[in-house]
């Protein structure tokens, strides 16, 4: 049995605990027992993305110390995993401990597809769903092919959603445009951020989506905030919730 560490992003821990439990349930149903190391807090991405690398560095070191005992680390966020896999090299120059941990840190969908080779899911979700392609998962972890690159198309999140009984995927006109969350960008560039979000919502609505899902709850937090303010007929659910068979 592999020893799997559960990496729950700080904002999911504090604001969206059920996304964490949905992640646990999906994995447990597939026979994976997870451990949640309680010392974990934040991967340091907000600091790093603001350029405050000195503030991010101790958090990166903590992360490696906390998660290095595990055979695999699984996280329901493409963005936080991208921080660890694509941006920690700044804090660990040729560090053997980080180099050993790095390939063992997985976003939930890629762990299900690449490691567990999931080809069926015993859940039903009879709704029209729009998949929002969260950027860091898409373009930094390559959970799918981006619309800019000319490669054979693939998409790990979509592959899993297609296994859900009754779920109908709808296609927005712009397949992978950013929602405008962008961390502190959401507040420092409030006008642009909200316009980007409004445009994504309109695109998913015209495609017929009842539910918008994504590999990142941060994108959905921003989109859901706009949707609730404007009272639009659209629900936001993290992909882990759909994979766990949560109802709308």
């Amino acid at each position: 049995m592999p020893r799997v560490g559960l990496f729950i992003p700080c904002y999911i821990d504090q604001m969206y605990p059920d996304v964490g439990f949905a992640t646990v349930e999906v994995l447990e149903r597939l026979g994976i027992t997870v451990e949640f190391p309680e010392a974990q807090t934040c991967c340091g991405q907000p600091m790093a993305n603001t350029g405050c690398t000195e503030a991010a560095a101790p958090l990166a070191r903590r992360f490696v110390e906390i998660f290095e005992p595990y055979d695999a680390v699984v996280c329901p966020s493409g963005s936080c995993v991208a921080m660890v896999r694509a941006h920690y090299h700044e804090y660990f120059h040729h560090d053997l401990r980080y180099d050993a941990l790095r390939p063992k840190v997985f976003e939930l969908c890629e762990y299900l597809v690449d490691v567990l080779k999931v080809d069926k899911l015993p859940v039903r979700f009879p709704h029209k769903v729009g998949l929002h392609q969260s950027c860091h998962g898409l373009r930094e972890l390559r959970l799918g092919s981006s619309s800019e690159t000319i490669v054979a198309p693939f998409n790990k999140a979509k592959q899993l959603l297609e296994l859900i009984d009754g779920l109908e995927l709808v296609e927005p006109a712009r397949p992978d445009e950013c929602c405008g969350f962008g961390g502190t960008f959401a507040v420092s560039e409030e006008a642009v951020s909200c316009l980007m979000g409004h445009d994504r919502i309109a695109d998913h609505l015209q495609a017929g989506a009842e539910v918008m899902t994504a590999t990142d709850m941060s994108c959905l937090m921003h989109l859901d905030g706009l949707i609730r303010r404007d009272k639009r007929p659209l629900r936001c659910m993290h992909i882990a919730e759909l994979l766990a068979g949560r109802p709308v």
Binding site: A48, C135, R139, E177, E189
Partner: protein, 455 residues
């Protein structure tokens, strides 16, 4: 933070302007996708282009000297300019020596970067930009808002008004065909009267000493075919080693820029016409400094196709002028702070780090990663507002102590629940201006997890 956010908000506040601007540029992006998809080896072409650029930049001094030797053999005069001031002085001297009064200029971002036009105009020389879009912004006394589509921010009705005022077209006329014909007549007159023609350079070839200028309007050819003097101004990074490398870049350039298979005119220049003069001005203006920086060297790969602007969700919705820079958009947000970090400190943050620019870039510049590195540089230079730095230091201190993090999280959730709406959604909370905050749960994941696992 002032700067880009303020100017972007002003652009968005204009009714429908941002939506229309976004859709126009997304249309260009879609055309690019179609053109790129038509080439099965697209990704290999990008790899090849990036490799050629990396090689050239690594051997730039040798290639520049090779280019100079071969260009001189062809009869060109080669000048070297350390910075914008030297460039402008060289161009002015050539023009003054020949008593030039009227100059026609095809599109050149380098001369925009060096602010050549005002320098020549101050010396009494008339400069006419002959690219239609550039002529429009010149008449409007504005700067280009896009490097390939300089007046993409203007609607045809506004151009009609401008032409009515400057070119005497009918009041209220906005038919593109009519306006273009008017501009054509106006520009033909300037071409015929010009004493010298200025162009930029898209690619200069070390092994031949020749160079290539790409236009869709043929205005570079017209501008240098009649007057006896041609001055070509180029940044030193425009060099490629061999003529055979050109195919790689010409195939990428127009497809990335506008979705065309190739620009309408790809004009090759090898030395002056008989009885005429050809001057080539090689300009550094900060490029050799960037060449010495591991983190930013790849930005010298840029072939100025504008694809990163067309794909950027922020650029499309904030307009080129919101960047207050010669080169706006993602690549400009790397190039401009390199010249003046304090002036352009908001630009590396005018980005959601979506990475679309890096994936669309035909020469594989890691644009969004360089923007992130720029944010780090701004902190080192003391150019991130102190409030933000403190917030991040406090955040880090909290996250380093799980007990403190737990306590702060609990207090935050409780405050969100108990505080009256007018306090939570005050003007101090930019999140809440157009968005609701999430509804806080009673317990965090960790608290519930602990309870369930009985630890």
């Amino acid at each position: 933070m002032t700067g880009h956010p303020t100017r972007a908000a002003e652009f968005i506040a204009l009714p429908q302007r941002a939506a229309w601007h976004d859709q126009s540029l997304w249309f260009v992006r879609a055309k690019r996708d179609k053109a790129a998809k038509a080439i099965p080896e697209w990704e290999s072409l990008r790899d090849a282009a990036a490799a050629i650029k990396a090689h050239t930049v690594a051997n730039l001094a040798d290639y520049l000297e090779e280019f100079e030797r071969n260009a001189k053999k062809l009869g060109a005069v080669v000048h070297w300019a350390r910075d914008a001031a030297e460039h402008n002085a060289i161009v002015l001297k050539i023009l003054s020596d020949h008593n030039v009064k009227r100059v026609v200029k095809s599109k050149s971002m380098l001369t925009e970067e060096c602010h050549l036009n005002p320098h020549l105009e101050a010396a009494g020389i008339e400069v006419v930009d002959t690219d239609l879009g550039e002529r429009i912004v010149q008449l409007a006394n504005e700067r280009p808002s896009h490097i390939v589509l300089p007046c993409i921010h203007k609607k045809k009705e506004e151009i009609g008004e401008l032409f009515h005022e400057h070119l005497g077209t009918d009041a209220g006329a906005s038919d593109p065909q009519y306006l273009t014909e008017a501009a054509r007549g106006h520009l033909r007159d300037r071409f015929l009267k010009a004493d010298a023609g200025l162009t930029g350079v898209n690619f200069a070839i070390a092994e031949t000493g020749g160079f290539v200028v790409c236009t869709n309007e043929g205005n570079a050819d017209l501008g240098v075919s009649l007057p006896p003097i041609h001055i070509a101004c180029m940044g030193i990074e425009k060099l490629i080693p061999k003529a055979s490398d050109l195919g790689v870049f010409l195939r990428l350039l127009a497809r990335s820029a506008t979705g065309q298979a190739i620009t309408t005119y790809s004009s090759h220049f090898h030395g002056p016409r008989a009885g005429c003069e050809l001057h080539i001005v090689l300009v550094d203006n900060g490029r050799s400094t960037v060449l010495g920086q591991d983190d930013f060297r790849r930005s010298l790969n840029c072939i100025r196709c504008g694809a990163c602007m067309n794909t950027c969700p922020v650029y499309r919705r904030s307009g080129g002028h919101s960047y207050n820079a010669t080169v706006p958009g993602p690549i400009g947000s790397i190039l401009e702070p390199a010249r003046d970090p304090a002036k352009h400190a908001s630009l590396p943050h005018a980005c959601s780090l979506c990475g679309s620019c890096s994936d669309v870039c035909p020469v594989k510049i890691n644009i969004h990663e360089q923007l992130l590195i720029w944010r780090r540089e701004l902190v080192k230079k003391g150019l991130l507002p102190l409030t933000k730095r403190w917030a991040m230091s406090i955040g880090s201190a909290v996250f380093q102590r799980p007990w403190l993090y737990k306590m702060a999280g609990g207090m935050g959730r409780l405050a969100l629940k108990l505080l009256p709406r007018f306090l939570v959604y005050s003007r101090l909370n930019p999140w809440g201006k157009q968005r609701e905050l999430p509804t806080p749960p009673k317990q965090s994941f960790r608290d519930q997890y602990k309870a369930r696992h009985g630890k």
